[in-house]
Amino acid sequence: MAYKIEARRQISTRMLYLTPFIAVAATVAAGFFLFVALGVDPVETLYYFFISPLETKNGLAELGVKAAPLIMIAVGLALGYRANIWNIGAEGQLTMGALCGGAVALAFWEQGGFYILPLMALAGMAGGAAWAAIPAFLKTRFNVNEILTSLMLTYVATLFLAVMVFGPLKDPQGYNFPQSRLFSDSALLPIIWEETRLHLGFVVALAVAVAGWVLLSRSIIGFQIRTLGSAPAAARYAGFDRTRLTWFCLLLTGALAGLAGTFEVAGPVGQLVPNVSPGYGFTAIIVAFLGRLHPLGIIASGFLMALSYLGGENAQITVGLPQAVTGVFQGLLLFFLLASDFLVRYRVRRVKLLLEGV
């Protein structure tokens, strides 16, 4: 007997939805051995990582707090990835959004008004979109690879935020710490679950995912995006404007990442600091893939990756593992997902070798 790899005539839809579960199972198994290697009790650590964060009200609320930016950014990224537009600089777009939204909050410091939060949200979206406009312009005008430009701009954005919180936006009474004033109440997002940090941004994130699903599956531009990614020749023949779609995907992702950044500083953080995000912009890439580039799948994968952040924090407190274990889990998960995607497009069949019959 031998094994033969055959291309499927059509991709297997069953496998498409099954592979995320295979990948999660494989990651948990790999985590078991990783914890053994790190010299901690694997069963206990897996419990602290994946289950204990879900046992308290506060844990559940934090899950929503961390899932919100991931979902919001991943929905935008997924639209782009569907069209083969590889924006990987969402972290930088988030940073610029946080900075612009935060600057508005500081401009209206100690003033009240219902208009402040919407203004911050608009500024944040504009900031993120403007940052994404740079790779969009360079890509459409000069054909510069958007992977490299969007990523380089992430480093620039992080440094720019540092310039601002070390300089013009530094808290005058902050003993020279590199951070801004604490935002006043009207610049903070309303809490939607009492005694927790769960804020309005969570609802917005879910709405964004639903809107993304409608856009992708029910609109003309969604159809164009899907065609551009799966059949570029057909898209060209149909006269779909690649330039316009590139702009659309990048600006939309930038605006969503910028909004997520604003929500971070107007929500859990409450001020501008040099690091506003624990890498949400990068983790959102995994969220997008794990959610099968489907806005509703992204809601589920967003929660799972939020759990990996919580689990990492929990394992740090209870078992003393370094926080970096979160990144290892996230990387492993994406590896296993990409590996098991093989089963979507190919099938492994046992075949009888001719020689065996002789």
Partner: protein
Amino acid sequence: MNIDTILPMLLTVIAAATPLLLASIGELVTEKAGVLNLGVEGMMLAGAVIAFATTVGTGSAALGIVAAMLAGMATALVFGVLTLTLMANQVATGLALTIFGIGLSSLIGSGYIGVPVEKLAHLDIAGLSDLPVIGPLLFGHDVLVYAAVAITFAVAWFLKHTRAGLILRAVGESDLSAHSIGYDVIKVRYMAVLFGGLCSGLAGAYLSLSYTPMWVEGMTAGRGWIALALVAFASWRPWRVLGGAYIFGGVTILQLYLQGSGGIGVPAQVMNMLPYLATIIVLTVISAGPWRGRLDAPACLGKPFRPAS
């Protein structure tokens, strides 16, 4: 300015260029075979942390360098299995490798923060190293600086003048034709990917053993991505990679000197943006300039290959 101020500046340019050169010459070979590995940053970090941990553990920098090469190859092998055997998307897999490398290296490195290690020894060539100016400039570096230049020479010669180099280029330019005349496309690509990993591992080792002899989380600071940009900048030609790496080393050092002189009143972070902004500008110029259309990217770059069976 006299020779006493220029000389140390030139020495630091060489130091800043070396990790870029190592990483980009490896990626050049990978891309010449038609594979786009965006995981350079992750492979460099794996190399950096393993080199450091091994050197601290064994007291031998030589073992550290060997371990870094193996670590780079091991991470590259993961990439190879996923993209070459399982035909996963190369862009997504490369990103996964970087995310994984960042996480794994800070996990391994968490016990080594603040631990000192002896800086990689400079080679002393009797007589030559003592010459004025020429001595320190040409003969006063550590082994990895020479390795970087030697590998570049070797790669240039290999690609242009050997049969194996011809096969590698053929695989990158037209995998189907190479396959139909009997070359094992997947095997060639595995070798190229592993070589890229080896070089990235060395680049990481240079950072943690020589450039800043210590372990800092994420100490590559985007150099892996700049190395990727350098390959495009060099239009996939080894000699231009060498030139590009030294130009970028120069930009990095220039901003450090401007900061150090303190005379221009610009925040340090603004100066730190320079290498990244320079990368964007360079990419734009080569994509838009008169070179456009003559970029010579391997025709099969980034495309998966599965022979019809």
